[in-house]
Subunit: 358 residues, 2 copies
């Protein structure tokens, strides 16, 4: 297992675009008023970055042409991550990646995003630009367009810096039937890479933990990886990104919705040594920790090796591994074989593991 | 001008559905964790209310069938109104109405909504139920379905009770070309009813002002009204709902985007006497105050009377009036003839009029 430390652009760092020429350095209540100041903010910060011919029309709604013969996939996600800048990304690219991934886990091709900002009075425009720039680059890189948006400002102390909602629309070919309730006995469970990177990147930042190599969030758009898998076979049964609640929660959702037993192989789960150490220090089970650039797929055994090969050839899937198998013997259960050969039940966590992780 | 004081259900008041059987009376951090408590909250509060076959599938994304031969309309809006319960509505039905209206102002038929909640730790579940119930009834009444959602919880003090984002998708027949930049000299400007009701309903609540009749928000879905207008003619040039920034801002958007001069007739603008009094007490110009159940349309003079008649026959448009005319003499300008016969320029407000009005 190699370690991925390079990113095209480190969204946690500085600004690579010019600062807008606004009258204020921080967000004013007036930036949310519907008036002239709000117009300037939208034009100079959002539209100038997210520039495309749909958004440029400046209507209150985006008009999209959609080719016949396909279904729509539609999703929404709010992002409240704290801190907003973290190793390997910020709330902006996370908000793009998260929604792109929710769309493409259905097998759909993500096309359009909305972006809605709730800004705290006093939030620095410079920080907002860093966030917006990360969104712009993440959207370009994922091949999606941000076509409609909204801006609200609330008084200081009534939100924490910035919350972002993205919703997303994708195009789904009707022959694809991926579903959380379509996992079948005999399927192989594939995970696309190392676990717990995002959660531990956030936690090291919050707890000010130092490691030899900085732990970076895995925040990434997975639509390219999904395409490479669907090029191999249309017979992938289920796919989901293990974000909040981690791998354990996603597998339990598979097991419950499909009425199957998923048997994990603990040893096979890819994990970076420093992330593992970090989980041990903080006393959290890495299987419950959020990922933001990984997917779990349930694939018929007959095509599993070919799917795995295709995934490993893709930059976002090079550490992919088969981590378990689906059985029909017990319904709704996820278990794991430990190194000692015993079996433990992997349940959904009752409550909070790591708050505001995304 | 009659006064509309009846609503089918007063969303500002109590609860008309059973309370969910949850372990807690208030929102816990764990309700945003991805774990079992979050699953219970989603199932018992959101899914049980918004119930429909798309949402019930419990996938991370909604799969929608979309008939060929039409365009999509797509919009997003976050709602941060304070207080969350106000005379005539609450943040929930407001969030449905606002997005339904943004979709239908293009001439599109609103079909699907997303709903994403940011909840403050400690927020009472009973209040959440009131909000969700208002959304459910508003969606049913508007004929739209809430098909995908998201829930985040943040620590006490890092948001104010509840923020809601709704995005919306509608179906647009390709022959319709309504646009803010399509207003033409000779057009007649029609307003669908009294101005400033929503803003003043919020302000009376905040400032604890008492009037003989309570001022109610006009929060309402306008898709039915729009349909009745499009039944008369497909030649409506532009349509927009004057929310934040009010009628003045919307008309300025028309004038600027279309390069025309809009001449208002102050006398013709419908306003409730108590709302007018309230604006005078607070020292705000009613033309700058938010509405949440009104629309402004630019219509060719030849069809204006028939459109106006159709609007007045509709319950949401019974106070509709012609409030101005479009001229080609000066570009980007909105002016008003006063009672004294003089002319004043109606500009966009620079900044904040009434914060957190929607």
């Amino acid at each position: 297992m190699t370690q991925e430390h390079k990113k095209d652009f480190d969204f946690s760092k500085g600004l690579q675009c010019p600062m807008p020429k606004l009258d204020h350095d921080t967000i004013q209540m007036a930036h949310g008023s519907g008036g002239r100041l709000m117009g300037e903010l939208i034009e100079q910060v959002f539209v100038s970055n997210f520039k495309n011919e749909v958004l440029d029309r400046m209507e209150d709604q985006a008009r999209l042409s959609f080719e016949p013969g396909a279904d729509l996939v539609y999703t929404t996600d709010s992002f409240v991550v704290d801190p907003i800048f973290f190793p390997g990304g910020n709330i902006g690219d996370l908000a793009v990646h998260g929604t792109v991934n929710d769309v493409c886990m259905s097998g759909a091709k993500p096309l359009f995003l909305s972006a809605a900002f709730i800004l705290e009075e006093g939030f620095p425009i410079h920080d907002l630009m860093r966030v917006v720039q990360a969104m712009k680059l993440a959207a370009e890189s994922a091949g999606v367009r941000i076509v409609t948006g909204d801006t609200k400002v609330v008084n200081k102390g009534t939100c924490d810096k910035v919350f972002i909602n993205t919703s997303g629309i994708g195009r789904l070919e009707p022959d694809l039937k991926l579903s959380v309730s379509n996992v079948q006995p005999g399927d192989v469970i594939i995970l696309s890479g190392t676990v717990a990177d995002h959660g531990m990147a956030i936690m090291t930042q919050r707890e000010n933990l130092q490691f030899q190599n900085e732990i970076l969030s895995d925040s990434a758009a997975l639509n390219g990886l999904v395409e490479s898998m669907l090029d191999v076979t249309r017979e992938i049964h289920a796919m989901r990104d293990p974000t909040r609640g981690g791998v354990a929660t996603t597998l339990n959702e598979f097991a419950t919705a499909s009425g199957v037993h998923i048997q994990l192989d603990d040893d096979a789960i890819p994990m970076r040594p420093d992330v593992k150490a970090c989980c041990e220090i903080l006393g959290v089970d890495p299987l419950f920790v959020a990922n933001e650039g990984k997917l779990i797929a349930a694939v018929p055994e007959a095509v599993a090796d070919r799917v795995l090969e295709a995934m490993r050839r893709h930059p976002k899937g090079k550490d992919s591994a088969i981590i378990g198998r689906v059985r029909g013997d017990r319904s709704g259960l996820v278990t794991s074989r430990t190194i000692l050969g015993t079996e433990r039940v992997i349940d959904i966590p009752m409550g909070e593991i790591l708050p505001r992780i995304c």
